[in-house]
Each structure stands twice: as structure tokens, then as C-alpha cells.
């Protein structure tokens, strides 16, 4: 919930136990609608997470590079221009190519229901639309972060 600190408290948790959830937010396509991503950045910060938002128009390669450098737990991708199937896929493809398995990817934006299974199949979960309560999104990110931490330890 908002205002509550988010450190990952899974059992058998020893890796980076002192580190809060670290999340990278990105809009990797040509899409300037950043109202939502600003709101989310602030909400994640106020939920105790460490937040990276590298500004508009990052290339998918840049997104992955930053995620690796910062060793984030979660990458949150957002697009409101309808190109999620193409562009989100580019990001996960690059991750796959670089052998990155221990960073979770979540999505959001104007994503029609019928696209959600396709995204989930790529490992992109959440896929929330406008109007989703922040608490729902935050809970989901926490859950995915916990999974990522476990993989980082393995």
C-alpha cells in the first residue's frame, strides 16, 4: 500500500535483504503520454521503492542496458499508442538474447483484453489499463519483485 516500505520479505531471503525493490519504468516506443508514468513513479517511490525513469523515447536496447547496470528487480513498460505487442516484445527479446532471466517485466497502458494472453506468454504480466487502482499495481510489482529476487539468488 501507499506509504508502506517495500522491501522484499520472502522466506529464505538473504540476497540484498537491505535493498528496497528497485524498479525501472520505461516507455520504449514513440509515445509522449507520460502522465501515467509520472503518477506511477511517484506512487512507487512513496511505496518505498527505488525508482528509475529514464525519460521519453528510450530505445528497447537502452531499457535493457539500464536494467542490467542498475540490477533492477522489475522493468515496468508502458505504452498508450497501441504498439505494445511489437515494442514490448523487442525488450523481452533483447533480454532473452542477453540471457537475463532474473528481472521481472510488467506492462501497462491501453492494452486490449485479447492482447493480454499474448503478453503473458512473453512473460509480461499485469498489463493494467488506465483507471487501475495504484494499490493493485503496487501489489503486483511487489509480487513480481519477490520472484525476481528468488531467481537472482539461485
Amino acid at each position: 500500500m501507499l506509504g508502506e516500505r517495500s522491501s522484499v520479505n520472502g522466506k529464505n531471503q538473504s540476497l540484498f535483504k537491505d535493498r528496497p525493490i528497485k524498479i525501472l519504468l520505461a516507455k520504449p516506443g514513440i509515445d509522449g503520454h507520460d502522465r501515467g508514468i509520472f503518477v506511477l513513479s511517484k506512487a512507487f517511490r512513496d511505496a518505498g521503492m527505488e525508482v528509475i525513469y529514464p525519460g521519453l523515447l528510450p530505445k528497447p536496447e537502452d531499457v535493457v542496458e539500464i536494467a542490467v547496470n542498475e540490477d533492477v528487480d522489475v522493468i515496468a513498460l508502458s505504452l498508450l499508442n497501441g504498439a505494445h505487442l511489437t515494442v514490448f516484445k523487442k525488450v523481452v527479446d533483447i533480454m532473452k538474447k542477453r540471457g537475463i532471466k532474473d528481472i521481472a517485466v510488467v506492462g501497462g497502458g491501453t492494452i486490449p483484453d485479447e492482447d493480454k494472453p499474448k503478453l503473458e506468454k512473453m512473460g509480461i504480466t499485469g498489463n493494467y489499463g488506465p483507471g487501475t487502482p495504484l494499490s493493485v499495481i503496487i501489489e503486483h510489482v511487489k509480487k513480481r519483485a519477490e520472484e525476481a529476487r528468488k531467481l537472482k539468488m539461485a
Binding site: 514513440i30 509522449g32 502522465r35 525508482v51 511489437t86 491501453t110 486490449p112
Partner: protein
């Protein structure tokens, strides 16, 4: 001080001297805005004895007896609202000095003497999606159903100056509007439409000059003189940096290209409105009504300064600047905002710029109902929201109106939904009786108080912006963007806490509701566009294209050369949007936004 003086005497460099003088003796006089604020303060009647005694006599005892604890009553602009307003809440000289009559300074009640009795607002619906053929079909459909002005939206690659073949355009072609990569696409969009008879509004900013040039060339090829072309391009680059974030170059470069277009159109295309100063996107990005008003008008005055610096006479270009506002769901706040906009524009142009020409003083604007207030949940509710917002726009005296379709929260609108939206306007216009009397809410204590308050708080923002070095500096520093992000976050938290309501979304929710079906643009559009561009490129005279691009580059490098005719030449040679934009990318570089969060 002694060190400074010594340094000053030792300095030999003239530039240094000048700098030191500025450092040591900053000038300090009262600003125009401070004076206006003092004027407003002086005119306030102070205490409101009627209200106070009524509150003590009747309201408080009532609340006590009924155990009523008042909630927080406020609007998006953050104004605290009283239970009721009376004549004492209106300044003494208000009616004469700040309200006036329609068609007269300061135009608070409307810019035309007979308003909607003389001419209804233009019903302008946004179209543009998929391929140019799709858009051409939609435009003809709307003309057939009585639409009186065309309005075109472009897809993301076009808005950012990329061709459909660019790697970054993959998956985005035709998604949020129509794709235009070369002149050929524009020819298709306007096929069978008489450009001398329609007025066309194009929602395009960073590449506005290129699209305007394309429109002009399409007309020329149809043997229509460009003097006859009527319409608007948005070309408001400041609000791109503030809100919509669709830029290519650093601000100064875009501003220079806009200046060139202003000068060209002033001299050659008298019916072309070359800047539509837009608050719409500022609002959609999360601003309050007040912020929308203040930042948009600040942008407006920036363009006035730009025209003056380019050596244009104010009465030749000010009437060609038009505005584009958002109409959101808080009914009175929106009406007040629109009325305040007219008054501020007139007051500032007259008192600060010394303008007397009536056509320059009257602020004209287009309004679109809010997209942000629409919900994907229970989508039919959106028709009601749009009706309220459309009424506010009409009561605020708009010159044209776009009503959103109820399915727009989720995707591009379907044909049926567009029809309902258009019918909504027609009902307001022809059934409701609202347009029969000019400014029918004028004189409402609440509305007049609110209008005056909007003006006052706008001047306060102007003062702050000037202290930051003007609107351009404030934008480059990220100040404006931060203000908006803060407002937007605050509102989101209020929604989460249930302090604000969105029916169907955070209250009266239908469980298990699924999003409505949507208009999907298949990748077919992309394939068709890519194929067309390839064919255009194979047929054109390559040597000629490269020559026009080189000429454009030279023009861009020469500060005092007008780039617009060179853009027209390149367009005519079928140089693509991206090729033309790349010339600018080479000369001016690309822009990276300052940090906002």
C-alpha cells in the same frame, strides 16, 4: 564589496564589464503582473457582511441541528468554495470594467456581438487513422453527415517526423491517427475533397511546417491558389515540451521554424491559422483548469513576442492565432476558465502591448471535451459526461467544438460512437435553447466570482513564470512540467482515497466488467504504407530530391533565411517527412527533456 569594485576596475574585457554591472546592480521595478494583481486586490470589497450574518443567523445553526459536518469543497484549480456567492463577492467596478458586453472589450461575454445567433460554433470532429484511404473515407462520411470542418489526427511516427519505414515506427503506423510519410499520402487523404470549400484543422506540431507545405502543394497541384486555403495547424511547440512531448529538435530550433511559417503564411496564406495555442494537452497531461489557462496563455504571449521579433505587425498576425482548450467535467470551473481566457488575452494585449485593433483583442478558440474524464467502465456514461462538457464549452463561448466519442477511453472511436458524439452537439445546438441568448450564465454571482478568481490566479502564475526567466526558460528547466505532474499525482491520490468520484470507475462499479470492443488497426495499414513509400521513392527524381534537401539545409543554417519555401520545394519533389526532418536533426540536433520526477 571592495573585492567586487577592484575586480570591476581591473577588468578590461567589455563583456566582462557588462556582466559585472548586471551582477552588481540588478534592476528592480514592479512588474506588469504585480501591478495587475494589486489592481485586483484593491477592487475587492473586503468582507461580505450579508454572507457572514446569514451564516451566523441561519447556516451554522442548521448545520449544528442536523449534525452536518461539511466536506471539503474545492475544484481542480484548488479554490476553496463557499456555500453560496452574493453580489458582495464581485468587485465594485466589475460589470463595467471586467465583464463588458459581447463583441466589446474585454470580451468576457463573447467575442462577437451576436454570438451563436449570427453563427453557430463549427462542429469539428477529429478523424484520421490507418491508411490515408481510411481517413479519406471517414472525411467524406463526416461531410455527408453535416460536419462543417475537417480535423485530422496523425499517427506517432508522423508526429515525431519518422517515415513508416523507420525501425522505430514498427507497430505504430496508423495506430493513433493517419500516417503521412510523403506528399503522396496527403494527396490520397484529400482525394475528391474540394480544398477551396473546406476548412481543415491538422493536429500536428513538430513537423507542422512540413505538413502545411504538403497541404499547400496538394492544393497547387489541384490548381487551387494557396491564398484560398482555410484551416489551422496546431504548431504550438511550447505545449509539446510542456505536455504532449512530441518534439524533434531543441525548443529554439522549432521556434525558429514556426517563425518562418508565421511570416510566410502572413504574407501568402491569409486564411491559414498557423498556430493553435493548445491548453488541451496540458490539461490531459494532468494540469488543473487554472494551470491549463495560465500556461496556455503564457505560451500565447510568447508567440506574440515571436511575431513582433520577426518584424510582423501585431494586427496582421494576432487575429490568426487561435486557442484550443479542454472542457472538463467541473461545469462552472470550465465556463469560468473560458471566459477568463478572453478577458486576460484582451487585457494584456491592450495594457501591456498597447494593441487597439479589435480583431487582435478577441480570443478565438476551439474546444474539445476531456478525454481524461472518460472511463472504459460503463462506457455509455461517457455520453453524459461529454454532454455536460460540451455544454460548458458552448456556455463558455467556443468557436468550434469536438465532442469525444464514448469509446475513446480505450481506442480510436468507432463510426457509431462518432455519430453519437456529433449528434450530442447538434442537440445542444438545435434543441436545448442554450445558444439562443448570449452568455446566459453571465451575472451569476458564483460564475463571475470564479471568473475573476481565475484571472487573478493566472496573473500570479505569470509573475512566477517571469521570475524564472519567461515561459521558455520555465519549460526548459522543467518547472511547468513539475507543476503539472504534482497536480496530477495529487488528483490520483484523491481518486484512490475516494475523495473524488469517477462513476463506474471508483464508485458504483460493475463487478467483472470487461472493456468494450474496439476498433483495431491491423498491421495491414503499415504494410500498405511501407509499400506506397517504396513506390514513391522509386519513381521520384533522386537528384532533384537531394538538391532540394541540400538547399533546405543551407536555409536552416542561415538564421535570417525563411525555410518555408524550401520545405515546399522538398515536399513537391517527394522528399519524405523523415528526410526533411533529418535535415533539421543534422542542423539543430535532437532534444532531451529535463528531469521531471
Amino acid at each position: 564589496m571592495s573585492i567586487l569594485r577592484e575586480f570591476y576596475h581591473n577588468a578590461t574585457d567589455n563583456v566582462l564589464n557588462r556582466r559585472l554591472i548586471n551582477d552588481i546592480m540588478p534592476t528592480k521595478t514592479k512588474s506588469f503582473w504585480q501591478k495587475k494583481l494589486e489592481e485586483i486586490e484593491r477592487s475587492k470589497s473586503g468582507t461580505n457582511a450579508d454572507y457572514d450574518s446569514w451564516k451566523k443567523r441561519t447556516l451554522d445553526p442548521w448545520n449544528e441541528k442536523t449534525h452536518f459536518s461539511p466536506a471539503e469543497y474545492t475544484n481542480s484549480s484548488g479554490f476553496d468554495l463557499k456555500e453560496i456567492y452574493t453580489s458582495k463577492d464581485i468587485p465594485n467596478d466589475y460589470e463595467k470594467k471586467r465583464l463588458g458586453m459581447p463583441g466589446e472589450y474585454p470580451f468576457t461575454r463573447g467575442i462577437y456581438p451576436n454570438m451563436y445567433r449570427g453563427k453557430r460554433w463549427t462542429m469539428r470532429m477529429f478523424s484520421g487513422f490507418g491508411t490515408p484511404e481510411d481517413t479519406n473515407h471517414r472525411l467524406r462520411y463526416l461531410i455527408k453527415h453535416g460536419e462543417t470542418g475537417l480535423s485530422i489526427a496523425f499517427d506517432m511516427p508522423t508526429l515525431y517526423g519518422y517515415d513508416c519505414t523507420n525501425e522505430r515506427a514498427e507497430g505504430e503506423v496508423g495506430k493513433c491517427g493517419v500516417n503521412v510519410s510523403s506528399l503522396k499520402d496527403m494527396e490520397v487523404i484529400f482525394k475528391g475533397i474540394d480544398l477551396s470549400k473546406v476548412s481543415t484543422s491538422m493536429t500536428i506540431n513538430a513537423p507542422a511546417a512540413v505538413l502545411t507545405a504538403m497541404y499547400a502543394v496538394v492544393a497547387q497541384k489541384k490548381n487551387i491558389p494557396i491564398e484560398m486555403l482555410a484551416g489551422t495547424v496546431q504548431a504550438d511547440i511550447l505545449k509539446e515540451y510542456i505536455a504532449q512531448k512530441e518534439w524533434i529538435y531543441p525548443p529554439e530550433a522549432h521556434i525558429r521554424l514556426i517563425r518562418d511559417m508565421m511570416v510566410f503564411c502572413t504574407n501568402n496564406m491569409p486564411k491559414w491559422n498557423y498556430i493553435s495555442i493548445s491548453g488541451y494537452h496540458i490539461r490531459e497531461a494532468g494540469a488543473s483548469a487554472l494551470q491549463e489557462l495560465a500556461f496556455t496563455l503564457a505560451d500565447g504571449f510568447f508567440y506574440v513576442d515571436l511575431g513582433l521579433q520577426a518584424g510582423l505587425e501585431i494586427k496582421r498576425f494576432a487575429p490568426r492565432l487561435s486557442f484550443f482548450f479542454n472542457s472538463s467535467i467541473n461545469f462552472f470551473e470550465e465556463i469560468a476558465k473560458l471566459r477568463a481566457a478572453r478577458r486576460i488575452w484582451a487585457e494584456v494585449l491592450k495594457e501591456k502591448y498597447g494593441v487597439t485593433d479589435k480583431r487582435s483583442l478577441g480570443l478565438k478558440f476551439h474546444t474539445q471535451t476531456s478525454g481524461y474524464t472518460l472511463t472504459w467502465q460503463q462506457p455509455l456514461n461517457n455520453i453524459v459526461r461529454t454532454t455536460i462538457e460540451g455544454m460548458a464549452a458552448v456556455l463558455g463561448g467556443t468557436q468550434s467544438l469536438h465532442t469525444n466519442s464514448y469509446d475513446e477511453a480505450w481506442a480510436l472511436p468507432s463510426e457509431d460512437a462518432v455519430k453519437v458524439a456529433l449528434r450530442t452537439q447538434q442537440i445542444i445546438s438545435e434543441e436545448s435553447g442554450i445558444p439562443d441568448v448570449i452568455d446566459p450564465l453571465g451575472g451569476s454571482y458564483y460564475l463571475e466570482w470564479l471568473t475573476d478568481k481565475m484571472v487573478e490566479e493566472t496573473y500570479r502564475y505569470f509573475e512566477q513564470i517571469d521570475r524564472l526567466g519567461g515561459i521558455l526558460e520555465a519549460v526548459k528547466k522543467g518547472y511547468i512540467q513539475k507543476e503539472i505532474a504534482a497536480t496530477s499525482y495529487k488528483r490520483q491520490i484523491r481518486l484512490e482515497q475516494g475523495k473524488e468520484t469517477m462513476v463506474g470507475a471508483n464508485k458504483y462499479v460493475d463487478e467483472d466488467e470487461k472493456p468494450i470492443s474496439i476498433l483495431r488497426i491491423s498491421r495491414k495499414a503499415e504494410k500498405a504504407q511501407v509499400a506506397r513509400l517504396k513506390s514513391v521513392k522509386s519513381k521520384r527524381n533522386e537528384l532533384h530530391v537531394q538538391k532540394t534537401l541540400l538547399d533546405l539545409e543551407n536555409a536552416m543554417r542561415t538564421e535570417n533565411e525563411n525555410t518555408f519555401p524550401y520545405i515546399m520545394k522538398a515536399v513537391e519533389a517527394y522528399a519524405t517527412l523523415e528526410e526533411i526532418s533529418n535535415v533539421g536533426r543534422k542542423v539543430f540536433g535532437e532534444w532531451k527533456e529535463p528531469i521531471i520526477v
